[in-house]
Every structure is written in structure tokens, then in C-alpha cells.
Symmetry: C2
Amino acid sequence: MERKKIAIVGVGLIGGSLAIQLHEKKISSRLIGVDMSKEHEQKALELELVDEVMDMDEAIEASDVIILAIPVDKLVELLPALMDRIDKQIVVDLGSTKAQLVNVIKNHPKRGRYVATHPMWGTEYSGPQAAVRGAYENKAVIICNPDESDADALEWVRYMYKKIGMHLLEMEAKAHDLHAAYVSHISHITSFALANTVLEKEKEEQAIFELASAGFESTVRLAKSNPAMWVPIFMQNKENVLDVLKEHIAQLTRFKESIEKEDSGYLMKLIEDANKIRRIIK
Amino acid sequence: MERKKIAIVGVGLIGGSLAIQLHEKKISSRLIGVDMSKEHEQKALELELVDEVMDMDEAIEASDVIILAIPVDKLVELLPALMDRIDKQIVVDLGSTKAQLVNVIKNHPKRGRYVATHPMWGTEYSGPQAAVRGAYENKAVIICNPDESDADALEWVRYMYKKIGMHLLEMEAKAHDLHAAYVSHISHITSFALANTVLEKEKEEQAIFELASAGFESTVRLAKSNPAMWVPIFMQNKENVLDVLKEHIAQLTRFKESIEKEDSGYLMKLIEDANKIRRIIK
């Protein structure tokens, strides 16, 4: 496939890591960075994540493909306005929620040029300096509502993700948002809440620092994640996230009650049930 | 320090991993395995974790040091009976809760021969085949109530842990149990409950399997942990675990309410508070 001029809007963790892959896999002939933050743009140039930076209008003009790697609240604002201004360019987003976005653009005359995607990769860090080489490899990417995209746009986006080593799944945006609540969003909430629990109650921070084991670190590390990214995700996926969160509180309450009643048999059963996650996570 | 004949009671994940270190660091002249399970004993021999296996009476007779790496409910039963039968041997346990154990042995005439310890290391796997090389290195180990141990016993236990690369901390058993609730026990409960939440509600296991990201895996991996080890820990540390668990449920409820009310400002604050864990966990 011919190399394309690609603009990446949002050159942080997600966009920056993708930029590295696009360059290394020779998918891009030229990488253009666009970011609301001049500091991020400068950093992205310094780190050679992109070849040059432009403002949005110039970038639209200069690109074959526009990749949006910005928080989901910004996506919902930007996408319709952007679609008004494009010609034949392909527009792709990498957002963690899909239903509202797909809905907002549903009847746009240029809808076909847009492909809704969610590559299932991230870390708890943010900004261009958090970008990492080899991100996305061997991870899943979900393409939502593929029937609503033009065949050529879809074909190129599939090519891009395969070339960077991702395995492709397709589903409706609503199904995506439900599954994402389970396999990603709830993990972040539990981790944020765990951090607050420990920070609230354990006044001896030196003790946490010295004693924290690998188990604690792995359950709490997501608590370092960027609020500007996660607040809009939880808000846009409100119904699903609340469903899962209520269930999670109910499950924790079962643990609480079994310990209060010293009901070892029930506690044993709860943990044996949890062990069944081995079927799914090796 | 002269190499010693060491018996390890419980040749699973914890005892087996320690055995590897004792052998490699030339701390032991001979390693004797004791396990309730003949299968585990056989496996430990096959994997060369220990040099030979014996029953408890033989092992007491043949050893200079007896290391107990069994669940904390078994420890509370075994320790007083064992102390009745030793002569000058050093007895060390590796249990995750300390207050009840130290209390049960408090007035034993041989109390001085016993050193209460908790090396802060583990994985979600169990059994001799889960033993790993290099475990414990660069982790913390807590020695509880050191004043109640004989000077020579304490000296040797400190020597052993330093030699395998651990950094030593000392504290009272009650303080240990409080800190352990925060930095270890609560993480396991949240992870068990998260696994049950997902298994209960997400009926499409294939979707979890395909979509699960690194974030989900890291928050849920502890859910594979062994119930025979964890039920007694939660029961013995009931008061502290319940305190922390109630706070955790309260914190999750704040997330739930902020999402229900679509209060982005409050949700932002909750996440910014959680981000402060960066001060402690790099």
C-alpha cells in the first residue's frame, strides 16, 4: 500500500505511540502533529514523534489521513466540525467510548470517510514523553459500525492496524461500550478508589512505600491515569459503567459480610468463583 | 556464617521459592522438605527444591532451623505444638498475619527460639511448581516483636534475609497487620471482587478474552490467588481488613454518585486525589 501523509491530532501517549509505529512500519510518508498544547507539539518534535507540526486547517489540507487521539469529550465536539471541512481524507479516531461518537456523526454527508476504532492499549502515563515503541503490537483493535464507512477508508484502516501488529475485531458501537466497561473502565475505577482508600486511611506513607508489594503495585498503578482522559470516558459510558460499578460494590459487600460473619465457607466459595478468571486470563 | 540444616515446612510457592534462594546463597548445608501433601513433597524433590523429604518428627530432629511456610490458620495450630518439641532449633514463620500468631506463643517457655517474619513477596500461583528463582530479592521483610526472640535466633534470621537480598524492617505485630491490610490484603479482595463482577455480568467470555487489556490483567491477576492461603488471612486480620474494605466501598460509592449526578468536577477531583499515589508508587 502506498505510504500516506498522516496528521495525528493529539500527540500524547496514544497518538505519540501510534506515530512511532506508523513511521517504523513505513505506513506514513510524512507525519504531521497537531496539538492544543504548544508544549506538547514542541516535545513531539524534539522526540521526533512527528516530522512537523501544523494548525488544524493546514493539517487537513496537507494530509491523506487524519487520526484523532484526543479525549472523548473533545472528539464529540471536534469530529462533526472536522467532517464539514474534509474532502476525500480518511478520518480515524482512537477513543475509548464509541456509541455517542458514532451517533453524533451518523447522518453527516461525509460519514463514509470516517472509521471508528478503539485500539486496546494504553498505560497510566500521559503526554508525548509517555509514548512508547512497540505499543499496540499483539493487542486487539475494535472497528465499530464498519458498514457505515466507505470501503476504501475501511480497507486502509484495516491495513494500518494489521501492519502495526494488531488483531482486528468488528462490532457495533453499543456492544463495544458495554464490553469496554468490563474489560477496561471498571479496572480504572477500582484502581482510583483503591488509591484513595489507602491515601485516606493509611497515614504512614513511609510504610506504604516500604511495604508495597508487587500485588499492591499492580492493582493500584492505573490510579496514576490522566483525569482529562478518564472523566469523559466514564461520563460518556455512564449507563454501562454504573451497571458494572454497582455489581462490583455488591460483590465487595459479599466479601465484607462473609468476613463480618466469619463465614469461612462462603468466603472460600467467593474466592473459588473468582479463581475462574483463570479460564480467561492465563 | 556456618551453613545450617534447614527444614522447610510447606514446600509450595512461598517455601519452595525460599528453598531455591537458601540453596543458591549457600545458607543451607541441607534442605529438608515437609509437606502435608505427598504429591507436593514428590514434586519438590523432582524440582530439586529440597534435598530430601521427612515427616515432621524426623525433620525437627535433623534440623538447626525450621521454616514454616504454611497458611496462617495452620500456623496458629502448628506453632505451639512445634515449640513443645524443639530443643535449640530456630523456628521462623513467613505468614502474612502476625498478631494472632505472636499472641498464641507469647508465654511459651521456648518463645525465644521463634522469630516472626513476613517477607513481602508472592505471586498469584501456588504449589511447588510455582516456586521461582530470585524471589524475595530487593523486597522488604518485616520482623515482628524482635525483642521477644533470643539474640542468636534473631541474628541468624536477619543474616538469612540479608543474604537473599531483602531489606529488613522491624515492627510490632499489631502495626504489621494494620499496614498489611492496606498494602496487600485489600488489593486481593478488590481483585477477587473484580473477577466476580466480570464473570457474573459479562456473559461473553470470548469478548473478555479477546479485549482484555494490560490494565484489566494487572488489576485482576491477583484473583487467581489460592483460597486456602487467603481465607485464613482475611479471618485473622478481620478488624483491619473490614476497616479498609468499608472505606474502599465508601470510595467506590463516591465514584458511583459522581457519575450518577454527572458531576464532572467532583469526579475530576476524585481522580486527581487518586493520582497522588504517584508520590508513593513510582
